[in-house]
Symmetry: C2
DNA sequence: CAATTTTTGTACCCGAAGTTCCAAAAAGGA
DNA sequence: TCCTTTTTGGAACTTCGGGTACAAAAATTG
């Protein structure tokens, strides 16, 4: 019943994710969204209600695609250290290969909105928790396999890995070449 | 010659730093500045020219006070690991003790403006460089003193420390209690 | 095809953002 | 004291932000 939408809301959320990711929440205007989603203002507000609501959908989309991809890599089979290295190298490549230097949408959102927007903060917190848990699981697996030192606290090491990744993704936004980031990876894998 | 200013520009920059630090660049309005600096619009624009110019002064002030303080701690005499620990613990205390959860102004600026504002990006990059160098110097000192493993690459370890600190200050904005951050510190100092 | 429901585009609204203008005020110098 | 210079507060201005209103368009049901 009723007229069907002329656009794919799912695809629109994807594009909204790109915009918010690139510009941040405050610097994205309804006009930006209208331009980049290729739909009219009427449709935008009819479909999503508000800029804020669309932002939340966009951040959820990020969690379900980008953040989930990292977790998936960490859960692959094989030697743990190699897996960690390839995950970290991938992030570096993505971050430096991106001309817009967007970094990580979740990290950017933490920096911009944590302490101001409780719901957004919660979303980000849960992404961080999930990533940390994936790191921890990988480390425990490595310890069982005898690949990593069993004396180390796996949870603490997981926290260290999460935090380092978050830091890398901020630093990647400011850096000229990949050298510093490769140093970080080497030092980190050397150290755990 | 001419009428003297009714306010202290230096103190005004200090207050501007607080505002930009708390709200970010885009979300700070001239009205916010007028309110919080306690001066009129005319004075504001007469003295500083633009919001953007004042922002740069504010970020420079941050570098000369807050960022310099961390570097100073890292350059103190005494055992290196203890020094590193106290520096990291201090950051955790500052970040969690701050009701506004502002995190680090430089890190927030990187997340918001890197790739968009070259001058701001440069300022942040230099702060990162300086901090990394201070970490590296501390580590080399620890190696000379026999306190740290000489086989490790001091520069890479410095990069790791910088990156981890950057990550911690983002994570601190989203976190409920200090546990995760303390785990990070423990794992990091254990690992180097 | 009439009735109903939903979408779409456009016009419009109100307030705020970022800045400029300007006349009055306050200093120092001739 | 008059002149010059600079600051000050506030009005004014232009553009934009975020959102609403609404009539026309396009589908569905019977």
């Amino acid at each position: 019943m009723g007229r069907p939408k002329q656009f794919d809301p799912d695809a629109a959320v994807d594009r909204a994710m790109e915009v918010f990711w690139r510009k941040g929440y405050a610097s994205t205007s309804p006009q930006d969204l209208v331009d980049e989603l290729g739909i009219g203002r009427g449709s935008l507000y009819n479909a999503f209600g508000s800029k804020r609501a669309l932002f939340e959908l966009a951040l959820g989309r990020y969690r379900d695609t980008q953040a989930a991809e990292l977790v998936a890599i960490l859960e692959e089979p094989g030697p743990v250290k190699a897996r960690l290295r390839s995950a970290l190298e991938l992030l570096v490549e993505l971050d430096l290969g991106d001309a817009g230097r967007r970094g990580c949408f979740a990290v950017n959102t933490a920096a911009e909105l944590a302490g101001v927007d409780p719901d957004a903060t919660d979303l980000v917190r849960r992404m961080f928790d999930r990533t940390e848990a994936a790191f921890q699981a990988a480390i425990e697996e490595g310890q069982r396999a005898g690949e990593l030192d069993r004396a180390r606290d796996a949870k603490a090491t997981g926290s260290l890995l999460l935090t380092t990744v978050v830091g890398m993704r901020v630093v990647a936004k400011t850096v000229e070449g990949p050298e510093r980031l490769h140093r970080v990876i080497d030092a980190l894998l050397d150290a755990i």
